[in-house]
């Protein structure tokens, strides 16, 4: 007892030791090289061997891509560098490049495709701008409503009443999104706040605020209806669509529909209602267990056999449906995996405060689960983007289909490698961008949670 009290009285003063610099050659460039590349005899040998191999490949690639390049030629025969040897015929890629991108779309109408692409880009840019509010609405409208506008711009021809309405709605949405984003950027307040203020509703009860906003929406809709009234595009039937454009249309629709459909299927698979659960399980297992190419063949060749006589079904449409169903089945399992990561307590807390099933899914469960799912979702999207090349087998002229077609053109016969290399670069750029974006998303979404 006395000992303890004495010890407590004499307390030593603690002085931390000064920090010393690390031993030489463990940090910096030299340290990194030593540690990572030349750490012992075996490691050094492997490093040297790999360097030799990489150097060899680089030299070969340089010879193929640059030294033997032929940039100007009117046909494949002119790409010879010696009477017996062909050079690398970039001239062919140059000659066909527009076709690789747009397929057989008429040259004078190509601007329509570009224009739709620009609209989509403008529509989506606000989602990345920090000052813009209502990002979710903007993104959702872009995914759900833009396709109608794009569809008409690509296809052209006559509009029936449904397309008339949907195209106006889409145009109206686009105009609204643009005004909203500009207002957010320059004044810091979104469009609905401005409408409420300008109409003098800001002093009224919050419940009335929706009326001027609805009025504005109706006005914008009527305006768009009026704007498109005189606009009519030349009809471009979809067998003229092709190249990267077609690849993007198919994979874009597949990607946009896969996530919502996957979510519904995953929820259905977890449902307590037996009929729904069995149907969802059957759908998912069926489409996951059959190769995409089989589904594509069934959709385009077998399915029409079951249709009534004279009923024609468009090849592109059936291919798109097939891709969507396939993608949805895969996505459903990704979503189910994400849902399993959410603790039971979250569902219970959401139920206990009185939220309905859809509310608790939409506000509590999905936002959290989606964060865990991002890497898998993006992998799936990348897979889908590349898998759409299979439609070339059923006779659609997507990017790969165009490349095959070019190699059979009489004056360019045998032009294989250069276009394929070009396609590889295009796919790599697309997929790498997606992958980088998913990493960015993960980092950003994780940041807010503080855990």
């Amino acid at each position: 007892m006395t000992e303890i009290t004495e010890q407590n009285k004499v307390s030593e003063k603690f002085v931390p030791k000064p920090s010393l610099p690390p031993p030489p050659n463990t940090t910096g460039a030299i340290g990194w090289l030593r540690y990572n590349l030349f750490d012992g005899f075996l490691s050094s040998c492997l490093t040297v061997l790999s360097l030799i191999a990489i150097g060899f490949m680089c030299v070969n690639f340089y010879e193929w891509a640059f030294a033997k390049a032929v940039l100007e030629a009117a046909n494949r025969q002119e790409c010879r560098i010696t009477p017996t040897e062909f050079g690398t015929c970039w001239a062919g890629v140059k000659f066909w490049f527009t076709r690789f991108i747009y397929g057989r779309y008429t040259d004078t109408e190509i601007w329509r495709v570009n224009f739709a692409a620009i609209i989509l880009i403008l529509w989506m840019i606000p989602v990345w701008l920090p000052r813009v509010t209502a990002k979710l609405n903007i993104a959702l409208s872009g995914v759900l409503i833009f396709p109608f506008l794009a569809g008409y711009m690509f296809l052209g021809g006559d509009r029936n009443w449904f397309m008339e309405i949907m195209v106006s709605v889409a145009l109206g949405c686009f105009i609204t999104v643009m005004i909203h984003s500009l207002l957010c950027l320059f004044t810091g307040a979104g469009i609905s706040r401005w409408i409420i203020q300008l109409t003098g509703f800001s002093s009224r009860s919050e419940r009335l605020h929706k009326f001027p906003v609805i009025m504005f929406a109706v006005i914008i809709f009527l305006l768009s209806l009026f704007l498109i009234n005189d606009v009519a595009f030349k009809e471009m039937p979809n067998n003229l669509w092709g190249g990267l454009f077609l690849t993007l249309v198919i994979s874009g629709i597949g990607i946009a529909s896969a996530l919502p459909a996957g979510i519904l299927l995953a929820l259905g698979r977890r449902s307590k209602m037996t009929v729904i659960r069995v149907l969802c399980v059957a759908f998912i297992e069926l489409f996951r267990s059959v190769p995409l190419i089989t589904i594509l063949f069934m959709a385009t060749t077998m399915f029409p056999l079951f249709l009534p006589e004279g009923f024609h079904i468009n090849k592109l449409a059936s291919a798109i449906v097939a891709v969507c169903l396939f993608a949805a089945a895969y996505m459903a399992e990704v979503v189910r995996g994400g849902l399993q990561a959410i603790p039971k307590g979250q569902y219970e807390a959401a139920e206990a405060v009185g939220l309905t099933y859809w509310q608790s899914m939409g506000f509590i469960v999905m936002p959290q689960a989606l964060k865990y799912m991002i890497p898998n979702i993006v992998s799936n999207f990348m897979g889908l983007f590349k898998d759409t090349t299979l439609v070339s087998i059923i006779g659609l002229y997507d990017l790969l289909g165009m490349i095959n077609a070019v190699s059979q053109d009489p004056s360019w016969i045998g032009l294989h490698h250069e276009p394929l290399f070009t396609a590889a670069v295009i796919f790599f750029i697309g997929c790498f961008a997606m992958s980088k974006y998913s990493q960015y998303l993960e980092r950003n979404l994780g940041a807010g949670h503080g855990r």
Binding site: E206, P343, A349, E351, V353, G354, I364, Q368, G450
Partner: protein
């Protein structure tokens, strides 16, 4: 010193009325073949404060989770504020929005800020406007003494603070009954009292409370009735003075000696 503890520990005045808030009669529940709740008969009056204790696995959580249908009972009747709990979704939602629940593991929504945690249900279930809901949320966050944390995410708070947010989140729905399932047993000792203080203040407002807890000091001070459960049955129920001073059943005696000895 002595007098101070005495006033501190003074028992709250009972405000129980004779209007029934929750009534359970002959409630039975099974998990598979396992009989968790056996013939539970219980009436809880408006404004009454009840503490439920009992050994682990005795069915305490299951009992209170049946009250807001987080668990479904298979036999017997439960009615809350006169509404009978059956498979009718409308009734279930009505009861859930009138009955608040606080969990052992807080179960805050980690992707929403503290304020959003508190306003979500009032906006979507009670159809309040956002501003109304935020005002009410700030009021309750002030009552649980953490208004300054409103913009933070749950993961940035201590356990005690999270549990107080969870209490505020339930109160924002303006419930008539509050259920607490071991609200302090996931907390470090120094945080237990900050949560219990909030609960005592809540009890002073006359809230009907059903608390599963082993905090016997809290039970002595706040409870109108202490219920002891074992093997899915209500073994004994009594006022806290009687319950602690002369427990009737030998099972209760054993349990009390175990939890009071450490």
């Amino acid at each position: 010193m002595n007098t101070k503890t005495e006033t501190e520990n003074k028992q709250l005045q009972s405000v129980a009325s004779d209007e029934v808030a929750i009534s359970m009669s002959k409630v039975n529940k099974w998990f598979g073949n396992f009989h968790v709740l056996k013939d539970i008969d219980l009436s809880i009056y408006k404004g009454e404060r009840i503490v439920i204790c009992g050994p682990s696995g005795s069915g305490k959580s299951t009992l209170i989770r049946c009250i807001n249908r987080l668990e479904e009972h298979q036999d017997g009747d439960i009615s809350v504020n006169g509404v009978t709990l059956d498979s009718n979704l409308k009734n279930i939602h009505a009861i859930r929005s009138d009955v608040g629940m606080v969990f052992q593991s807080f179960n805050l929504f980690p992707h929403l800020t503290v304020l959003e945690n508190c306003t979500l249900a009032p906006v979507w279930v009670r159809n309040m406007t956002k501003t109304e809901a935020q005002e009410i949320a700030m009021e309750y966050l002030t009552r649980v003494k953490i208004p300054e944390q409103a913009e933070k995410y749950p993961g940035q708070l201590s356990g005690g603070q999270q549990q107080r947010v969870a209490i505020a989140r339930s109160l924002c729905m303006n419930p008539q009954i509050m259920l607490f399932d071991e609200p302090t047993s996931a907390l470090d000792p120094e945080m237990i009292s900050e949560v219990l203080d909030v609960m005592i203040e809540l009890a002073e407002t006359g809230m009907t409370m059903l608390v599963v807890s082993h905090e016997m000091g809290f039970a002595r001070r706040v409870a109108d009735r202490v219920i002891f459960m074992d093997y899915g049955e209500i073994v004994e129920q009594n006022t806290p003075e009687e319950f602690f001073a002369n427990p009737k059943s030998d099972r209760t005696k054993l349990f009390l000696s175990q939890i009071l000895s450490h």
